[in-house]
Amino acid sequence: MWYDLLTSVFRGLVNTVLLLALAPLCEGIVRKLTARIQSRQGPPIRQAYYDILKLLGKEDIEVGESPVFQRLAAALGLASVLCIAWLIPMGVGIPFSGGDVILLVYLLALGAVVGVLAGIASGTTYSMLGVSREVMMLITLEPLLIIALLVAAVNGGSMRLEPVFSGVVFGDVTFSYAGLIMLLMVLAAFQAYVKRVPFDIAEAETEIMEGALMEYSGPKLALFKYAQMCRLVVYSGVFVALFVPWGNELMFPLGWLLFWLKVAVLVVLVTVLAASHARYRIDQAVRYFLVMVAVSFGALVLAALGY
C-alpha cells in the first residue's frame, strides 16, 4: 500500500512538473508556427517562459470588491488544471486512482469556472461580457466531453479512468460507431476546449479585450495565462489518452515519448486550424455546439445499445 502511494505521488509529481515545464514550450510552438504560417519569423520558441516570468514580477493591480477571493481564484485556476495531470496517463500511467470520468470532467470545468468567477469579481463590463460568453461555451462543451468519455465508459462497462483510457471508446470487442462519432465531435470542438480561434469568443481580443482576464495584471494574469497554456496540453492529453492511446503502454521512455509526440501533433493541428479561421459569433458557436451535443446524445444511446 505504501509502495502504491509512493508510486502515485511520484508519477503525479512527474506529470505536474512536466506539464508546468512543457506547457509554455507548446505555447511557444504555437506562436512560432502561427508566425510561420503568417510569413513571419515569429518570437523565439521560449518566449512564453519570458512572458510568464515577466508577469510574475509585475505589479498586481487589484480591481474589484473581493481581492482575497481573486487571489485564491488565480491560484485555484492553475491548481485545478495541474490537478488533472494527476488524473490522466501522460505516458507514465494514471497517478491518482481516486477519480473517474465524472471527476475528470468536473475538474476540467472547475478551472474554467474559477476563471469565470474571477472575471466577475473584477466587475468590468467587458469582463462580464466575456464571462457570459465563457459560461455559454462551458454549458455546451462540458457535456460533449463527458459524453465522449462516457461512451468509452459504457463500452467498457466501467467509469474508472484506467479502462476508459485504453482505447475502449472504439468498442471493447466489437467496433463502436459511437466512439467514432464522438471522435469527430470532440475533434470539431477541440479549438473551443483550448480556447483558440475560431472559438476563442470569450476572450476576443478585438471585441472585449480578453474578456474575463481583462482587469488582471501581474502574477494573477501570469497564473491565468499559465493555466491556459496548461489547458492546451491537458486537453490534448485527454484527447490522446481517450482516442489514440495506442503505444502508451510501451516501455518507459518509448511510451512516454510517444505520448508527448502525439500531444505535439495535436498542438500543431490546433495551431493550423486557429491560424486559418475567423472567430465565430457566440450565438453561432452555441448553436453549433448544441447541435453537436444533440448528436452526441444520439451517440450515447448508440453506445448503450451496443453499436
Binding site: 513571419r40 515577466k54 509585475k58 505589479e59 498586481d60 488582471y216
Partner: protein
C-alpha cells in the same frame, strides 16, 4: 532568485498597448506594420494587447488633446509598473502641426511621462523597430543635440570689384563658389 529572474525578463517580453489620443492614424498603421510579416516586432517578444492592465509599454500616438487628457492619464494609471511610454511620431513627441491650437494640449509628455521618443511623421516601421531595439539594448542611439555656430558669414560681403558684366547684365562673380 525568482525575483531577479522576473525583473530581467521585463525587456524580453514587452506587451504593448497603443493609445491614440487624437492622432491621424498614420502612426497607428505603421505600428501595426511593425508587427506584420516584413518587420515582425514579435521577434523581440512584442505583442499587442487590448487592455492596459496587461501592458508593459504604452505607445502614444497623436498629441495630447484636451478631450482625451483624462482618458490618457487613466490609461497610464491603469498599467501595472514597471511600465514604459513611447511617444511615436511628431504629434506625440512634440504636438505636431497643431501643437498650440485650442483643442490640443501639446505633446503627450504633458500628460504622461515619456521614456522614449520615435520621431517621424509617421516613422517608418524600421524606425519603430529601431526604437524597440534601443530599449532592448541591441543598438546605440544615433542622434544627439546639435549646436553649431557660424564662424563667418557664408556669403562673402559685397565688393564692387567682384561685379562683372556679362551679356549686358551685371553678375556677382563669387556667386558660383557658394
Amino acid at each position: 532568485m525568482l525575483k531577479e529572474l522576473c525583473r530581467k525578463m521585463f525587456p524580453r517580453s514587452l506587451w504593448v498597448y497603443h493609445a491614440n489620443s487624437g492622432g491621424c492614424n498614420g502612426c497607428d498603421i505603421e505600428v501595426l506594420n511593425a508587427l506584420t510579416p516584413w518587420y515582425d516586432a514579435e521577434r523581440f517578444g512584442i505583442k499587442l494587447v487590448g487592455s492596459p492592465r496587461h501592458a508593459d509599454v504604452m505607445l502614444c500616438q497623436g498629441p495630447a488633446m484636451r478631450a482625451t487628457e483624462i482618458a490618457l492619464r487613466r490609461a497610464y494609471d491603469a498599467m501595472p509598473s514597471p511600465k514604459l511610454v513611447f511617444a511615436i511620431g511628431s504629434c506625440a513627441g512634440g504636438g505636431g502641426i497643431w501643437h498650440d491650437t485650442y483643442s490640443v494640449l501639446g505633446p503627450v509628455e504633458k500628460v504622461v511621462p515619456v521614456d522614449y521618443y520615435i520621431p517621424g511623421c509617421p516613422p517608418r516601421p524600421e524606425a519603430i523597430v529601431f526604437g524597440v531595439a534601443l530599449v532592448l539594448g541591441l543598438v546605440e542611439k544615433k542622434v544627439v543635440d546639435i549646436h553649431v555656430k557660424q564662424d563667418e558669414f557664408p556669403i562673402p560681403r559685397y565688393h564692387p570689384e567682384d561685379l562683372e558684366e556679362v551679356d549686358g547684365t551685371v553678375k556677382y562673380t563669387k556667386s558660383e563658389v557658394v
